[in-house]
Amino acid sequence: MRTLDKKMLRTMWRHRSQIFAAIAVVTCGTACFICLASLHENLKLTRDTYYAQNRFADFEIRLERAPTSTLYELQEIPGVRQVRGRIVEDVKLDIEGVTDARMGRVISVPETGGGFLNGLVIRSGNFFDPGAQNEVILSEQFAQANELGVGEHIKATIDGKKHTLKIIGLGLSPEYVYTIRNVQELVPSPDRFGILWVPRDFAESALTLEAACNSIIGSVESEDQLDTILNAAEPLLDTYGIFAKTKKYDQLSNRILSDEIRNLGVVSRVIPTVFLGISALVILILLNRMVRNERTQIGLMKAYGYSSFAIAMHYFQFALVISLTGCILGFFVGQYLAGQMIEMYVKFFSFPILQSRIYPNILAQAMGISIAFSMIGAMSAAYRAARIHPAESMRPEAPVVGHRTLLERVQPVWQRLSFTWKMIVRNVTRHKFRSTINIFGVMVSTALLIIGFFSIDGIDYLMEFEYEKMQRQDVRVSFYLERGKDALYDAKRFDYVDHAEPMLQYPFTLTNDWRTKDVLLVGLPRHARLQRLMDTEERVVDIGENGLVLTQKLADMLSLRVGDTVKVKPMMGRVTDEKTVRVSKIIQQYFGASGYMNIEALSRVMNESFAMNSVLLKTEPGKEHRLNDELEDIPAVSSIEVKEDSIRNMSETIEMNMKVTSFVSVLFAGVIAFSIIYNITSVSLAERERELASLRVMGFSRDEVGRILYHENMLMGVVGLALGIPAGMIVCRLLVKAFDTEMIRMPYHLESRTFIISIVLTISFVLISNWAIRRKIHQLDLVETLKERE
């Protein structure tokens, strides 16, 4: 082994705790990168192969009823590769021994099998035999959540008629990787909503849609032509009551999955960069100190004939050892985390196979990046070492020059400070670079905490806003068809019902000049108590007598302002004439593009005096489920949703998510704060050993001496904290902007709890660093320290 290498190992051993702290940051950085980047790559590849192998459709057109013969016409449109007509219908489910509501979506598949669009992956059991009746393939997650297996039965109310279906298989489909009924649901509830694939013939007869379909899916040669193709399809289907055209990009499950993948891609770049940047700073501080420590030695080595290059390389090697060790540890930690993350993803996303894999290209990248950052950190030390002149190095270092600080101008304050504080203030201001990095480290740490907790607060708040502030019903009952006022009176007469309000949700096409958009409009009574219309400022919005209330997003899409008029046309049903409606209000909301109108005004748009398709019920306390049981068997009822159950289900999933998020952000914030504070304090301690030892000789106790460093760290910690809070808040605001999609906008909402926890944790990080430094102070050898004079 070369002498320089021996020296390096010894020096590393002497600085082992500092080097360990530096390695910890590199480990976090590479682990994050490996975990997130592999996950990103993994999800992307898995999605793409899954979509390709099971022919995920490029578009879907939902309509009232189209004869299957039109499919041939669609097939003729240039660019169309394959089309399939199918039947899709939401149904109520009945499971033995389960009392609360279960919803299903019946989807027809050709019993001939073969490579059809949105194909199934059979996980257990079989695909249908030709001529199968009353058989179903159930979505795997739903079956598992409800402990249903192949061979068992499930009851479904389809078009008002109860059918008992035999489960012959469990399956998955690329269409439902993320299985939620609608955007508002936020997270999947595998126990409450499932997909039922049924043979085509059975669906046709059960829904009286013989030789017809209500959903057309298709694939195209190139996604660029999608708009042209859909435009060409429209006149062919116009008479069949189109009520939604969805491109692959907007398909709910795909959109959420793809957004998640995109976000992962961003995060996998940002977080590791922060860590590795910090690691560069830690290495910078550590190595600069080493060079200063070893000035004389370096001078001697040069005098013996070592070249400046060899000396510079020596310091780069330190950085290399740190980053390589960090990489190796990071690899294991990263792979482990990726495994954990995948386990979490599997709970939300259903893929046929999603397993942790090792991506050599990502490992190579991780290594490259972390080495690059550590080299940047080592640059200044290597440069300084290379420049040391042998003769000059023998002379003692210039003594520390005391200086006055600005604070001293304020004599009344300065006079009151104890000498400890005077030393601290002068020291913090003297080592400006070091203090800045220390403060910066704490700032990043606090900001990370705030950002981590923000994601929890946001979802928490969204739940509260949606399910407590806006929706105040206990049960929501939906009907298959639009009903008159009598349905409301009927509902009020049910046992346990205290109060009932009507609601109408219907798809409309909104047109302003050449801009057009298909949306669900919601009709509510004025001064509704159960479904309140609120904006993001939590103000209750008066829906008015006439006029349309639009969300900002929809207004922007249609380029509408208050007072403008817009043409409104129901997308299905008998009514085919357009009405002109004035935009009365534009409000900010969290969920998507939607519009609201007084239920009576909306009914008039549909040429009815009063129409409703769901009723919201307030029950006597605790009687929600009793009511549910009573309503279950009414044929006209398409679904019953007990709010309490929905909330419980969501809270469970979200809570798990929260635990992981908070654990990870606390861990990361802690490692950053600790490694920076510990390293800087170690350097500072090494420089001031004599000073501190002589204090001990004068009769200061270990803790009194330590306090000089502890207080100094606390002072900088408080400054870092004070900067980290606003910095975190700014990043949160930016995140809200960055993740603002057509479907959902995260609320900018931070609980006071978040601030308190962040402050307490940041201060704890400083205290932990101080506690680690305490050992070094206790080990200070008075005689040795005072004897040697460098």
Partner: protein
Amino acid sequence: MTHEIQQENVFRINDLVKTYQMGEVSVSALRGISLDIHPGEFLVILGHSGSGKSTLLNIIGGLDTPTTGTVQYEDHNLGEFTETELTHYRRKHIGFIFQFYNLMPNLTAKENVEMATEISDDPMPALDALELVGLASRAGHFPSQLSGGEQQRVAIARAIAKRPRVLFCDEPTGALDIATGKIVLEVLQDVNKKMGTTLLVITHNAAIAEIADRVIHMRDGHVSEIEVNDEPKTLDDVVW
């Protein structure tokens, strides 16, 4: 200054042995030293480099511990002191001066002295202490703005402001030229006379010995000779 019969000794040093174990080799710094130190006396320890002077002083000053043997301070056995008691001992009873001044570079002369006064019960005002070493006019200067001799005098002011019973000085003039060294010694002698502080000064400058009450000669970890000056000279009479 003559010595009456001492009622009590400040220190009773009994058969001190200090052996440093360095791997296979062991170095004996002290090989059995017994010595009494009287209150108010000016004691000089003389000896070649490596003879064990610093080791002896550090052990008496509670910075180091002997391998065997005891140091009795007044009624207490230093060896039985806990860490807290040792701190208390250094804080309230003794002061140290080193060859290198070890001032806080970040504090002014006055603040350096105040640092010591902040932790003692009955301190001298910082400016008085600086006055005593003739540096009242430089109170606001930082160490880097003072000469070596001045820095050493600040260190003395810092040590005496606590009004210690004993002052340990390990080669206080070692880094100074003769003229400056003389001023520093003058200050130390002054402190010994005016405040009655017991003074232990290590030096290898034999000339200094002439101003002491007693001179301990050390060689190879032994006390080779104790010399008593019945008539200590004043600094001005010493031939350098």
